[in-house]
Symmetry: C2
Subunit: 254 residues, 2 copies
DNA sequence: CCCTCTCTAGGTACATCGTACGTAGAAGTG
DNA sequence: CACTTCTACGTACGATGTACCTAGAGAGGG
């Protein structure tokens, strides 16, 4: 328990017993008010901090996002950041939610009919576009549930789109997780494929050697019958079609 | 290029030009031989190193796995580890592959018929079991493609199981990614849910407040009609059923 | 009005991390 | 035997997250 302890070497504290209960600031950053309205005006805002962090992550990757770096980008002292963001995790939460704000949801969910499928396609494509813009995003989404206000907007939109189906709320939530997870995985795959392009030569050599070793017969067979690598977008669409079909299927049949 | 350079302040090197080409050790650790057969016998092995790292990760989480920590667990000096593992990333590769070795593949892929579905269920359940044993695994699997020898075994087995379907190799590879990604996501979800149990009170409060705010009508409706939380295993099975159905569907129809 | 309390900005300091580099010695090869 | 090539390990550096402290700004109560 690293809570603030009094000097603890002096005499007994006068009246109030040491820590009468630190108001127990919530762990969830969305439960902390951005401003409490006393003292001097803060020089920055959560929004500007998130924007600065996102700019760094877009340009140099998530590893380049350090408290020092973000603070410097804002022209602030390193430790001043901690007035806005109690831990680095919360900085990541802010980034995640700020990126989620980039979704553009149509006001009316298309038509009441089963354009549901089309709505899910559009949603997934938008998500992929956002994640291509911010290659660090999938890792964050996967790592933490992150229920910021914009994630709630996303959830609400998804529920609206899937309302025409007669699936119950729980099932639709599972469907959301399924679709969300799929797009993240795909974006993440694209990312590592792009980053590992330099070692691709090594990898190909390793794989062909493995295939020829005879230890992996089915792998070798698949290699032999493999066609040319597909265009990323069509590969995505094909897999997306499968996932959406799985989502819209009535319910467990067997 | 941090290769070994000669003192470089002396007179010109006699005959060989400074660095004639460092043999360019491969980045992929699986392409480096474990032993080259000269010098003293190494006191450790990749297997023992991976085992030590896994023990630490199982007990204290992936963050507790540091080079110093693993070396200490082996009774070795910190820097000695770098004789076996050129970078920490490669340590993670070793851990990943060692965990993948825990799969137990049946020698004969059941029957030639469409027990394919059953085979995929078994595979997914085994994967979930492994990931529950090693809560740090999903994060690793998601982060890097990691094509160690045991991952190849897994791939080969998957291809064997899905052989009865008349899907081509590329499609079955996509199916593998789909199933693999799904199980990882689910395991990761379970993990964060378990870790965040302490803040669950906060989270529930936040969500109900959001639902009541009127800004998320569909979310509120879903909340209202939500049943009791399902048993994790049945929830997994339900979602798995959808995913496997999506995988086994013939091919893009529309 | 001033006093006081609360907030902000910022600096210093520490533990811990990955790892570059160099030295000492052991085990094979000629 | 000498020589080469490996292993083991200590030291040291730059970077990280963040605990803690000092000043000072500005609103509220007397």
């Amino acid at each position: 328990m690293p809570s603030s302890k009094p000097p603890a070497g002096e005499s007994a504290p006068p009246a109030a017993p040491a820590t009468p209960e630190p108001p127990e600031a919530p762990e969830l950053i969305w439960l902390r008010p951005e401003r409490t309205g006393r003292g001097p005006k803060p020089a920055h805002s959560r929004a500007s901090i998130a924007a600065a962090a996102i700019a760094i992550a877009d340009a140099e990757g998530l590893d380049a996002v350090s408290m020092r770096r973000v603070a410097a980008a804002l022209g602030a002292g390193t430790m001043s950041l901690y007035n806005y963001v109690p831990k680095k995790e919360h900085l990541l939460d802010l980034m995640l939610d700020a990126a989620t704000a980039e979704y553009d949801f149509p006001a009316t969910p298309a038509t009441p009919a089963d354009d549901c499928r089309e709505g899910l396609y559009r949603l997934a494509h938008q998500q992929l576009a956002i994640m291509r813009r911010h290659p660090w995003l999938p890792a964050l989404v996967i790592a933490r549930p992150g229920i910021g206000p914009n994630a709630l907007r996303y959830t609400d939109h998804f529920l609206a789109v899937t309302a025409p189906t007669r699936l119950d709320g729980t099932t639709r939530m599972e469907a959301l997780a399924l679709l969300n997870g799929f797009v993240c995985q795909y974006a993440q795959y694209e990312r590592t494929a792009a980053a590992g392009a330099k070692w691709q030569g090594e990898l190909v050599g390793y794989l062909t050697r493995a295939a020829m070793s005879g230890d992996y017969p089915h792998l070798a067979a698949a290699f032999a019958t493999a066609g040319p690598p597909a265009d990323p977008d069509t590969a995505f669409d094909r897999a997306l079609h499968r996932v959406v079909t799985a989502i819209l299927a009535p319910a467990q049949s067997g």
